[in-house]
Point group: C2
Chain length 307, copies 2
C-alpha cells in the first residue's frame, strides 16, 4: 500500500482492543483468546456492478462494501470482530478515493464494533474494485447455517422487501443485532440474508437443506420503495414481483419451528417487523400460493444488476 | 458467487480439520480454540500489474496470489491457517479462469496446510483482480514485527536477490518454514519480506523502528537471474542494482542481535543461505558502504511493475 495512505490510516483508524498490531506491518494481529469458532466472510464489490461512482458519493460505496459483509455475518449469527479491506483503485485520484471509501466505512465499523485491521491497495485501468473480509465470533449455539431447515418450519422474514434500487441497496442496515438477538433467545433452524432476492435466496436455503419452500405471496411484506418504483415504471415489475426478485434487501430469511414462529410473531422482539411468508415442504423446489390458494411453481429470478 | 463454481469448489477443495463450515454458506466457520492471537493479512493482485494473463498460465497467477500472502505471514512469523479468496472476473470465460486460479493455489495451500474456507466472485469490464485474505497463528513468542529493531542489530537476508522478473516473481517459495524455524529457535528482533525491493523494504524496517540502516553492498547476495537480466539488457541496471531494487524476491530481511547473527551465520539452519548485509544505526536513513569502505546515501527505489 502506498505509504501516504498507510500514514493517514494509522492516524484515522480508531484504536480497538482486539488489535495487538494494527495497519502498517506485514499482517495485523488480533487477540482471539477465548474464541472457540470464528466466522469468515468475504465480499467483493465493483463500480458499475454494485454501485455507480459517477452517481454517488464514494463514501456510500465504502459503507455498502462493509455493510454487505456485516449482512453475511448476520446470516450466520456471528458477532462482528474485525476486517481487512483491499481495493483496486484507478491510477489517478486513487488515494482520495480510498480515503473516502474508508470514511464511509468508519461510522458503520464503529456502530458494530469492527476493528479495521489492515488492507492493501492496487491500481489499474479497470473500475474500482473493493473487497472486504470480515471475521466474526460464533456464539456457543454455533453458526446459523443454511442447511438446518426441518420440514414444517415456518419461513420468517425481517423488514419489507423490494425496490432497494431507490437507495436502500446502498444505505441498508445490516441485520446484525437482529440476528444475534434472535439466535440467542429463540430456537432458529436456519438462516440466510437476502442479497439476490427473496425467491433466489429462499431457494438457496431450501436447496441447502434438501427440501422445498412454499411462499404465501399475499403475506410477503412489500416495501414502499417497491410500490414507488412500480408506479414510476408502469411497464416494469409489479410491487410483489419486486419484493420477490429485486434483491439487495439485506433482510433475513429464517427457518423457524412453528411454535417458535408463533411466539416470535406474537412478541415481535425486533425494531423491524417479522413476517411469516410460508413454510418449508418435502417436495424440492420453490412454490407460491396466491390469494385464491392456488399453488404453482415460482421461478427464482436473480438480481440483475440493473443500477 | 455463481452456483456452478460453488458446486465445483465444494467438490474440489479438500476437507480441512479447521473448517467447521466450508464454502457455500454465507460465511465459513473456523475452529479457533486455543489460538491466542491471529495474524490477518490481505493482498490484492491484478492482471497487467502483478502478472500478465496473456503471457502466462492462469494457474501461476493463482499460485502467486496465495504465495504473496503466505510471504506476509512469514514476515510476521505466523503459521498459515486459512484463507478466503475474492476475484473480479472478466464477463466471458470467468468461470474457467476462476477454476484455473484455484487449481494454481491448491498445491501451495496443501503444502502450507491452508484451509481455503470460502470466497466471492464478481465480474466486470476491467482486468482480473484477485484478493486473498489469510489468517495465521501467532506463536507464543508473539509476532515478528517491523518496529522491533535495536541499534547494532545485524541485517540478515535469506536467499539471493534480483531479477525476479525472469519468473521467480510468480514461482517463488514463500519463506514460511524458514521464518517459523528461525523465530522459534533464535532471538529475532524484527522482520519484513522483500516485496518492493531490498532497499525499499529495508528502509521500511528501519523507519518503523525509528533508526537507519547501512548496507554493505559487496555482501548483498545477487541472484543468477539478476546477472542474466543485466547481461541481456546491457543498458539496464547492474546486477547489484537489480538485487537492491528489483523487488518481488519474497525473501526475508531480519534484524538480529550481533551474537545471534554470528550463531545463525555459522549454523546456517535453513535450506537457503542466510547472509549478513549490514547493520542498523542510530542515524535515520538508508546508507550503503561499497567495496572501498566509502559510505553514501542509498535512495530506496520501489518496484516499478515493469513486467
Amino acid at each position: 500500500m502506498e505509504s501516504d495512505l498507510i500514514t493517514w490510516l494509522r492516524r484515522r483508524l480508531p484504536p480497538h482492543p482486539l488489535l495487538r498490531l494494527g495497519p502498517g506491518d506485514d499482517a495485523a494481529v488480533l487477540r482471539m483468546a477465548g474464541l472457540a469458532e470464528c466466522a469468515v466472510t468475504v465480499d467483493m464489490l465493483s463500480d458499475g456492478v454494485d454501485f455507480q461512482l459517477n452517481q454517488i458519493d464514494p463514501q456510500r460505496a465504502g459503507r455498502k462494501a462493509l455493510a454487505v459483509n456485516l449482512s453475511d455475518l448476520a446470516a450466520v449469527a456471528a458477532r462482528p470482530l474485525a476486517g481487512v479491506v483491499s481495493v483496486c483503485l484507478p491510477r489517478s485520484g486513487g488515494g482520495e478515493l480510498a480515503k473516502a471509501l474508508v470514511e464511509g466505512m468508519l461510522p458503520l465499523a464503529e456502530k458494530y464494533d469492527v476493528a479495521i485491521a489492515g488492507g492493501d491497495t492496487n491500481s489499474g485501468d479497470g473500475p474500482l474494485v473493493i473487497s472486504i473480509t470480515l471475521l466474526g465470533a460464533v456464539s456457543e449455539r454455533g453458526p446459523l447455517r443454511r442447511d438446518g431447515v426441518r420440514l414444517g418450519d415456518r419461513i420468517l422474514v425481517t423488514g419489507a422487501l423490494g425496490g432497494s434500487l431507490l437507495g436502500r441497496h446502498l444505505d441498508f442496515e445490516p441485520r446484525v443485532r437482529e440476528a444475534l438477538l434472535l439466535h440467542e433467545r429463540y430456537r432458529l433452524h436456519a438462516g440466510i440474508d437476502i442479497s439476490d432476492g427473496l425467491s433466489v435466496d429462499l431457494a438457496h436455503l431450501a436447496e441447502a437443506s434438501g427440501c422445498g419452500a412454499v411462499l404465501h405471496t399475499t403475506n410477503v411484506p412489500i416495501h414502499d420503495d417497491a410500490r414507488r418504483l412500480a408506479r414510476d415504471r408502469a411497464d416494469g415489475p409489479s410491487p410483489l414481483d419486486r419484493a420477490l426478485h429485486d434483491g439487495e434487501d439485506f433482510e433475513l430469511i429464517l427457518a423457524v419451528p412453528p411454535a417458535v414462529a408463533e411466539t416470535l410473531l406474537a412478541e415481535q422482539p425486533l425494531d423491524v417487523p417479522l413476517t411469516d411468508v410460508g413454510e418449508f415442504v418435502a417436495e424440492p423446489g420453490l412454490w407460491q400460493v396466491d390469494v385464491r390458494g392456488a399453488r404453482r411453481e415460482l421461478v427464482p429470478r436473480g438480481w440483475e444488476h440493473q443500477l
